[in-house]
Symmetry: C2
Subunit: 321 residues, 2 copies
């Protein structure tokens, strides 16, 4: 049986891959060299079996997703990925699982130039905690407090296909095989919008990533910036599979689906061309979905600007079933 | 019922305590400003109920210990604490537990000038993941690779009382109430040796903190530095409660007890006075327990330098019961 230290060494220690760290895995701490004029962006997320992923989830996709949801937070700050730590508890040593998990995680890490610099493993219920470090020049981070009256509200990519797949996997409804096969990757393999976040520096005002659903997450920007907003519900870019569902489901899942890991950001109306240019440069489509208002609260309208009243709330990890 | 966001805000958001972070809790990432000539030391630890602490553990002590074991890693690098993130899964919202846990955690954090800058909470088996950030001037970190032939080996404080308490709590043996009451704080409330770690910069060569037992942990220094060592087992500073136990138990628990969170470090024999001066300045006793040899392996002797053969191994989270 592999010891804890063998385990770490075999699957997670890759000395030849050191890119950023002055000292990586294997000491009490890793060391990252600092530079004047830069800030370190830090975010941490914990993923729990049965809550953030199904028991028995494909370990390769799980390795990808565990890192992706953290990188998404860096994207939302306009920060460039540098490094991450991985702490997890495992029910036992399953070499196949570890090999697949690390393969999925490192494929994304390498693609984004983000280096594993430390970690901790222990025995326990499957539970994955990643902390990521990015860098951003002082003053250029995209903060939730920065939305201003008159800003356009934008969202990247499409919304709701992850939620569509989740409902089918929970058995809330059935989807044909093709639809589920197309929607499920949005749930299992989210793509952090790093390139877009970097391209929006100096253009966007506020930004965040959509993990718990547009309405709830946008609410954080509104509260932090002390503003309100009007959203055109019919402008929301539904995922290609959700697009074919009925209007109620389409509206519900685009507004409060969760697990989208798209960026929602605000930018002055005068910078529309710059936003579109940044999106083009990043290879990421963006859609204008509303505007920031001075008066507090979130107002929903249809394509004709007629008010809509919809039940849409944020995902809450303790209140959810 | 408190929502996840209410929960975070009520117990963990303390805007008036911002000390180091340019941006703290409440955005996608926290921001820490970088400075030329400095390095960021990073360490992460995960604590699992039933493995690192007993189910129903006192939440105030648990809050302390969760942060303390991470700060101990900073101490072992000679790094000054700056900030930390906290990600945890909880079976549910228990306000008393949260109040006590945060009180214990913040008491230590404030004493060490270490600021909570971000986190994540979710529902699941009780599981606590903390990542700490410290700072150390470039070139001054105490690394495991730095031990040299002829170095003295030192240890701070005393060893084995935590292990003594643990055995009694597991029911392996009984201790009188007084002995258990005196030994248990070493298990539940470890004190990270931050001041000593800082004082040893420029004096010590290699250092690490003792979490899994002296023999196993010292083995990491020997392997990383490609050296061997001779330890005088009778010189090991047993805790005041372990001191009164029989010789076998005393040797066993000082050598491989675990949970000590003392520093083990090496320094040139020519710097003995400097080591003692640093220890005095830090208010932390230190004991010289052996020397680094060129020939690989760890040799144990008694006070008369006669070889001893003892069964002593490192704690392994997967192999342990």
């Amino acid at each position: 049986m592999l010891s804890e230290f063998d385990l770490i060494a075999r699957y997670f220690k890759r000395p030849s891959h050191r890119q950023h760290a002055a000292l990586g895995i294997g000491d009490d701490c890793a060391l990252l060299t600092q530079h004047n004029g830069m800030q370190t962006a830090v975010s941490t997320d914990i993923l729990v079996e049965g809550r953030h992923f199904f028991a028995g989830a494909d370990p390769c996709m799980l390795g990808h997703k565990s890192l992706a949801v953290n990188l998404s937070d860096l994207a939302a700050m306009g920060a460039e990925p540098v490094a991450f730590t991985l702490a997890f508890s495992l029910p036992g040593v399953d070499e196949h699982w570890l090999e697949q998990f690390s393969a999925g995680m490192f494929a994304l890490a390498d693609a984004q130039g983000c280096e594993l610099i430390g970690g901790d493993t222990t025995k326990g219920p499957l539970n994955i905690c990643i902390t990521v470090f990015g860098r951003v020049p002082i003053g250029e981070a995209l903060q939730r407090t920065a939305a201003m009256e008159g800003d356009d509200i934008w969202v990247s990519g499409t919304l709701g296909d992850a939620r569509l797949a989740l409902g089918a996997l929970y058995g809330d409804y059935t989807l044909d095989d093709y639809t589920l096969a197309c929607a499920a990757p949005r749930l299992h393999m989210p793509q952090p919008r790093i390139a877009l976040g970097l391209a929006l520096r100096g253009i966007a005002h506020a930004a965040l990533d959509l993990s718990d659903g547009l309405v709830g997450d946008l609410g954080h920007i509104l509260k932090a910036s002390n503003v309100g907003a009007t959203l055109n519900v019919d402008a929301l870019p539904a995922g290609p599979m959700l697009e074919k569902q009925d209007t109620d489901r389409r509206r519900h899942f685009t507004l409060s689906g969760g697990d989208d890991y798209e960026l929602c950001f605000t930018a002055p109306a005068s910078r529309r061309e710059a936003v579109l240019g940044a999106a083009m440069a990043a290879g990421t489509p963006v859609t204008r979905i509303g505007r920031i208002d001075a008066s507090p609260g979130l107002r929903l309208t249809d394509a004709n600007e007629a008010p809509l009243t919809l039940h849409a709330s944020s995902f809450d990890h303790f209140a959810a079933p």
